[in-house]
Amino acid sequence: MKNYFRNSIILAAMAVGVLTSCNDDLAAEQETPNAPYVLSLGVTSNGNTTYYVVSTDNLMEGTINAVGKGIEQNGYHDYQKGGNSIFCIGGMGVTSATAVVRGADGLLKEQGEFVFDNSLSGFCQVDDNTMVGLELPTNKESGSQLTFYTVDANTAAILSKNTNTAVDPIDRLDWPSITGMMYSGGNLYVTYTPMNSLTFETAYTDTCFVAVYSYPDMQFVKLMKDTRVGPGGSWGAFNGLMKDENDNLYVMSNSAISNGYSQSTKHAGFLRINKGETEFDADYFFDFEALTGGLKPAHVAYVGNGLVFAEVSTLNPQTASDRWGDKSLKCCIIDLVNQTVTDVEGIPVHNGNGGRRFAYLTEGNNVYLPVSTSDGVYIYRTDVTTAQAERGAKVSTTFVGGFFRL
């Protein structure tokens, strides 16, 4: 009898022993100070997504991971560079702006303690020290005024807030879904798609709309319209506008069902707005679909000298079952000036990477792009002058949310 009792006690004691020796520390690799490249790794597992902002000095070899390192960020985040900071916008239930900057020790650190009223629909840099954020009520039922913020590009401090400008007239057809915002020559340009906020139907795809607001007083200036293409950009992709070296803007319109349109009534193509002007450049129109036999660009990045690095959908034609797919993408170099398209060699056809923004990095003539392949996510380096790509480092992540040099 006593033996059994003793055995039970011993068992319990053993259990306690096992328990107390457990912890979650995994072997952490040290981060290298002043490693120039910064990536936000979006890890999704078991229905949860968390971001880890890590740095590396080598994009072409080895594995980039967040094992025991990286700044953890919870809740949905968008990333954008401004000044010498990387803005991390998002959070759990609130939208706060956090700046990731390089500390005196050469390692990344997080700073900032500002909170936006709601969630930002647009965010862009206007000068070396200032960013502008735009907030739009979620739907017509919840509000009728826009909110513009100016934000310090270095500290992430909210400097001012302006709620004097109405959503009207950009909500006259349907509630606007903001697809891009850029500053040029004293104006803020905003592309959007009229979209039913309950059904996500896009019934108005015959016209490209660009709303112009003055900066810094954020007054409505003009609603530019052009019927050569449909609306600029696509839902949640921030792909409506690009800016060249001379502050001219290019509007990308794709009306792509796989990027969320419920219908497509115009060819995908590009329009130009010259610096600070409030008319489309009547002399410029690039009919992308006519040139490529029906293809539509999904994500675009201006590299320089009129060249754009793009992910182009290979689905042709796109049908209702492809809606929201963002898949089967190939990489191309698009020359906006000479209106040519060259396929990049060396990058497999792949699916969109999940982060809303196109996470890429340009350095000289090279574009680095993380691509989700059957073996995992790899960084591909493309020389835009030759359109040749080379596979580089592996990235241990589900997707890359942001990719910068700091």
């Binding site: 995994l26 968390t50 025991g68 009223d117 709601n118 907030e135 039922e141 909210i158 969109g352």
Partner: protein, 720 residues
Amino acid sequence: MRKINTTKMLCAVAGLAFCSQTLAQTDLHDSIDLHEVQIVGKTKARKMHEQAYAISVVDLATKYQSASALNQVLNTVTSIKIREDGGLGSNYSFAMNGFSGNQVKFFIDGIPMDNFGSSFNLANISANMADRIEVYKGVLPVYLGSDALGGAVNIVSRTNANYLDATYSVGSFNTHRAAVNGVYTSKGGFTLRANAFANYSDNNYKVYAPIVNLSTNKQEGEEWVRRFNDGYQSYGLKLEAGVVRKSWADYLLFGVIASADKRNVQTGATMDAVYGGVKNRSWSLIPSVRYKKNDLLLPGLSLSLYGTYSMVNTYNVDTLARRYNWYGDYVASTSAGEAYLTDATIRERQWQANANLSYIINDHHSLVLNNVFSANRRKSNDEMYPDDEMNNVPQQLTKNITGLGYQIRYNRWNANVFGKMYRLYSSTNKLMDQFTENQRWEKLSDRKQRYGYGAAATYYILPSLQAKVSFERAYRMPEAVEMFGDGLVQKANPDLKPESSNNLNAGLLYDQTFGAHRVQAEVNYIYRDTKDFILKGVTMSSNPTTSYDNIGKVQTRGIEASLGYAYKRNFHINGNLTYQNIKDKMKYQESQNTFVGDGISENITYGQRLPNIPYFFMNGHADYQFFNLGAKGNSLTLNYDIQYIHDYYLSFTGLGAKATKKVIPEQLSHNISVGYSLCDGRYSVVAECNNLTDAKLYDNYRLQKPGRSFNIKFRYYISK
């Protein structure tokens, strides 16, 4: 010969019960008890505990004086953690061995409580209405018919023929709780059973929260502030009337549950989001009927039935165009709805019916057959969005679960084997050919069927030492919304599989009395192999439409142990601990229709502990009673409770620099109370202090629970 007849008859009756799908109740354990009379001096709770199933039984008789809420009592059971968002009436989640939400099912007297609404819940019901709580870990007996993936909790009502138990407590944060429980039974067999409760709290406890300057949007550090929009009230009445001890019925009871609650919502996902005008309320009305007859037609055959119809309406309101901070200050906002603009009414209606037939073949063998049928209908309407096509479009779900069990019982050992059949029929309306001229609503439906099975066995190595082992292959069937989406933005996933799990328990139970000393000990090993969790796809990409998918594969290995010592009736001390190693065992992540399109990708968190689940916790309790103090029949009771929960990470355990990781901090809390009762417990008063050290306690990331609180409780109790 006689046996054959019996079997035939049983089949006939079983068939009848089946076809008519009349259904209800289940009291296998009652019939088992007939065989347990030789075990002298064991309480019902103890006897339940000695079943072959992995079960924890809380004998609530010891909790009546303090009139604790049931969720508080459950929180001290091994393997269980109740995670609260805040104070009285706040949202809570019940977690057991890594399972939570609708993977764990709740029953009251064997009747599933899934659709009883938010007002009639464990946090509102006081321990005084029940005799005991039975917690089944991973393996469910046949008579609890449900698709529980990870276990179940059954609340068993008090069965005293005549009693009245009234309690009232008042305490910190303007908290008042009252409960009246009673049963009247006449000599002629008429009985009336009533349980009533009322709870009220301002919940204006202090929290350490971030303060945002509303004009600059700057977060100006953290301060201690009072919660200002967190009031809660709930009321409920459970009434049953009928007859007992008739030749044709052991009982036939007609009942109704009526309850309502009203809640102000103070925070969003974390205390970073603070609300001043978000509110919700609900009401439930649930008529029921229960019937049971032992020795029906032939000795050893017993039949029980129940039927319920539940009507639950829930109202969620968030319409203010304001932004609040933690001081309670606000400014006008350009956007209405502090979290999400809504003024929604959700109407849920459910039929439930059960038939349970058991037959004791002889001293050693018995059979049980159980069938539960439930039909669910759900509609919602949001007044803020009158154009929403989804308003008032119904979704329906019918579940039919049949179980057949066989039990063999000898002196030193007994065993059960059982099989369960899960059938599901669900239908919804879907918008077809959306955005075309042919756009129309069409009815979609689907059927699913699964077979589960299991076994449980126990052996008495010594009269005081018992070994147990149990196993079940369990399923949870998808809900209508999970299968069909909402017909609009949530996409349907016709390939959705039920969640499935292999649950294994093995344990040793020891109970020995040495004169005035009694020692009880228990050690259990827990193994769970779970896959195909039904989770909502990730909604963060350039795709606002999602579907539910089968995601993940998780392995849980755990150990739970408890040790107790008692000296006469005067002194009790016990403690328990739970450690569960819940690991992500999914190597590759398959994605369909998600933002990364179709494909297979490596799962980055393979082999790591699942985040945001408490995995190591302990409870301790000690009490001392002075009997006949002051006068004969009066007693003084001193109680002490301690709870420890090890800290755990909010997000993936192996990723990220430690300094930046979000942690749910370690919890160590102490509760003490002193009670004095007169006239053998007829009158008693208890003074209680919870969270004695005023520790900052969090069950969820950045959602602070109340600090130190005091309350005083009065009780009046008579029984015949």
